[in-house]
Assembly symmetry: C2
Homo-oligomer: 96 residues x 2
């Protein structure tokens, strides 16, 4: 399935900045970073479960938020890009 | 149509911070802010064109990026939310 993951992590303290780095690292294992806190992810149902589990372990539920949207099959190509929004190659398997 | 708009605007200088405020204001006229730089938008083709035009006028193409994804019909409800990611009511018409 094709997903778009976006997150907001509070960075007002060192703990938040650590969570931000951890979220980025987690997501980079599943997909392509297209903006600071936005990732395009292609994964299976099982991989989605481990991603959800990983995000739940990292974030502070009172401070941070993660949203994971299901995209249509052409979701990564049928989008509008403005400015230096680059297209992302999705053919290479990413799951480590 | 249902869209998800995400943007990254460089805020290293006052000009960038002004663009950030302008992008937020533009997008608030079209949809619901669900994270700092993420908006859920329901609009027509014509409204999408004016939104694209507005964004093009605001951003610095060398510094900033805007991505607008098409979501499936249930895109705003069939998502995974973690932490303080709140559901957003989409029944009220927003276009001013």
């Amino acid at each position: 399935m094709q997903l778009l993951l976006t997150y907001d992590v509070s960075t007002i303290d060192p703990e938040g900045r650590r969570r931000l780095r951890q979220m980025a690292k987690l997501c980079e294992g599943y997909g392509h970073r297209v903006q600071k806190s936005v990732f395009e992810i292609t994964c299976t149902d099982a991989e989605l479960l481990t991603l959800l589990d990983g995000a739940n372990r990292i974030i502070d539920p009172g401070e941070d938020s993660v949203r994971i949207y299901r995209l249509p099959a052409n979701g990564f190509t049928a989008l509008y890009r403005i400015g230096n929004a680059k297209p992302v190659p999705h053919h290479d398997p990413l799951i480590m």
